[in-house]
Symmetry: C2
Subunit: 379 residues, 2 copies
């Protein structure tokens, strides 16, 4: 395997993406959601890459979600027009939102309090700018948002509307679905997520506030939802590459995982049956999300270079070292992995592992050369 940059190609660790798998994962979820009458507003925070976004967004007007204004800036610069900044807005950030909108993009903001609504209205008046806001609804106590029946919902809606801020929609995220144990539980979480968003939208509309968009989503619920009546759009992020956490949640298989860290065996401890690899937490991240799940993959699942799982995990990491401990009863010992052997590590959490890298090396179809995709960094 070589790349367009041959010296770089032989250097590990690096992050490998498989484009064909990403395309398959995307098509599969989009097909499911489209059949239920909605569109997907993909979360671009996992890969944070213009090239990757082009696999997720049909054209420049396709709706997308971002987690930082740095992403919004990069995607708006590339011409994308419909970006939802899905983290609660605070006043220091409003100027950047206004600046971003100058080239024609709409940057929807998110809020869930009277204080935020008042700050946005004040800025809108001062800067003579028309903001577009989503109100965040809490469906499961996971993180932010207000409960759909909370009277503050209407108060926020009225402050915004009377202040000239568009109440574009309500938004909720079933974050607790990540901890579901069964597919039935995920389905229940999906129904609950829809119910919370629909209830909030109904309250707003009954009070005369337009609220055209009803936005729900998380990768687990998006895959298991079976009724999207009344819902406008579904958000999901990690589904494009998947990871071991989502494999444990039951919404993908290890074969669907499109992201891995390529590493090299740099040493052995023969007595302890240890392999040292050059992927430490700097390449894999410190994420141990699978530790509390049905199968604990340590710091990642070891595969051969064709992507076949070898059923060993990275047991521990330091900054630039990973340690793979081979099982005692296995016929395969450290001697089967000589110095210089290349391996691939499937990550616990794609977003976290991707965040450790500045560049992706991408396998496209059957091409031998790997393409380089840049990652958007910072805030």
């Amino acid at each position: 395997m070589t790349t367009s940059n041959s010296r770089e190609a032989t250097q590990t660790p690096y992050l490998l993406l498989e484009e064909a798998k990403i395309k398959k994962n995307v098509a599969s979820l989009y097909d499911h959601i489209n059949k239920l009458g909605c569109y997907v507003r993909p979360h671009l925070k996992t890969l944070r890459s213009l090239q990757a976004a082009s696999l997720l967004l049909k054209d420049l007007s396709s709706p997308a979600t971002v987690s930082t204004l740095a992403e919004a800036e990069a995607f708006a610069s590339a011409g994308y027009l419909d970006l939802l900044y899905a983290v609660g807005i605070e006043p220091h950030k409003l100027d950047r939102v206004i600046e971003l909108s100058k080239n024609g993009a709409t940057i929807h903001i998110l809020l869930d309090s009277v204080t935020q609504a008042k700050a946005v209205v004040e800025c809108a008046a001062e800067r003579e700018f028309q903001f577009s806001a989503f109100i965040e609804i809490d469906c499961d106590g996971h993180r932010g948002g207000i409960l759909p029946d909370n009277a503050l919902l209407l108060e926020i809606g009225r402050i915004l509307e009377s202040g000239g801020v568009s109440v574009t929609g309500v938004l909720t995220h079933a974050g607790e679905s990540y901890h579901c144990q069964t597919q039935a539980e995920i389905q229940k979480a999906a129904r609950n997520e829809c119910l919370a968003a629909l209830t909030a939208a109904r309250h707003l509309r009954e009070a005369g506030i337009r609220c055209p968009v009803v936005s729900v989503g998380s990768t687990p619920t998006a895959h298991r939802v079976d009724d999207l009546s009344g819902i406008t759009e579904v958000r999901a992020g990690v589904f494009s590459t998947f990871d071991l956490f989502m494999k444990n949640v039951g919404v993908c298989t290890t074969e669907d995982i499109a992201i891995s860290v390529v590493t090299t065996v740099i040493g052995h401890n023969l007595e302890k049956r240890w392999l040292f690899v050059d992927a430490g937490w700097m390449a894999l991240s410190r994420d141990r999300g699978t530790a509390s799940q049905v199968e604990d993959y340590g710091y990642g699942l070891v595969c051969d270079m064709e992507g076949k799982p070898l059923n060993y995990t990275v047991a521990s990491v330091s900054q630039e070292h990973g340690i793979v401990i081979l099982p005692e009863d296995d016929k395969c010992g450290p001697e089967n992995f000589p110095l210089g052997t290349r391996l691939r590590i499937l990550p616990n959490h794609a977003c976290a592992t991707a965040s450790m890298h500045d560049v992706y090396r991408v396998k496209q179809n059957d091409e031998v050369d790997l393409q380089l995709w840049d990652r958007i960094r910072g805030w």
Copy 2:
């Protein structure tokens, strides 16, 4: 507080360094080690920055340690001449080591096996290059290295020497000292670390292999060692900024910690007494090193903007959200931290938190403007 880049200055999260504290931490350890007759070969992997390195290295010939060839390349380009790449070498990386040496720098490599020694000798002959090698010694079973009394030590030494590779030294790292419970235990680990390195050096020298350098070190043992007879140099990395993990190990106080993430309150859950801040794991890292220590700081200790600890921790994180849970019995509630409040978070692990950022904002003396320091990235 403003910076040279005013828009950036008001945007959070960002990573703040306090230069005066770094200088104090560096002077304190160097003084201790110099008094014991040795010099410090600082590990530059924590901050990976040319500007930070200038606080740690007196001049271009000062010895330094790096954890990646990307660091070696950046520091060699800046003129530094004595760099130890302290991760086991594998053959694919030797060409970069040779290339790096062309401008006059010595890049010492590290190895602990006959296989590595043979590969290095083979490359040395083929490329007519004089490598400088350290042999890694295992003092506590923590990670790599061979035991000082293992007969392989001499075999490796002889292969290298007869192959024209300089055996510059032996190196050991008391990685298990991070888990010591008392200062007496750290002192014991320090003595054991020295003993392992001295024993290995003696074996090599008795066999006629020169081995001029005896290198030991870890941040805990470097601070508690009281006798360095026979030792040449001491390595340590995280001591320049320290962190909550090292505070728990007992080698610094929270006041000594020179690194923090500046964040903004972006929302509240008043019933649950939650503050939402815009520092999630993307800004803080996923490191939970203090979870198994005497005091668990969650994802970091919350301080005011003057750096005074408020005794709240970041209880949970998602990608761009942190949640601070205020205690029930505390007179200070979420209303005391209005939307837009700036806070500083001390990190569990400086190396991991720094790795999430591309740039440092540095407070120098009493200057109001923050300086920007770049971070070296990748491998």
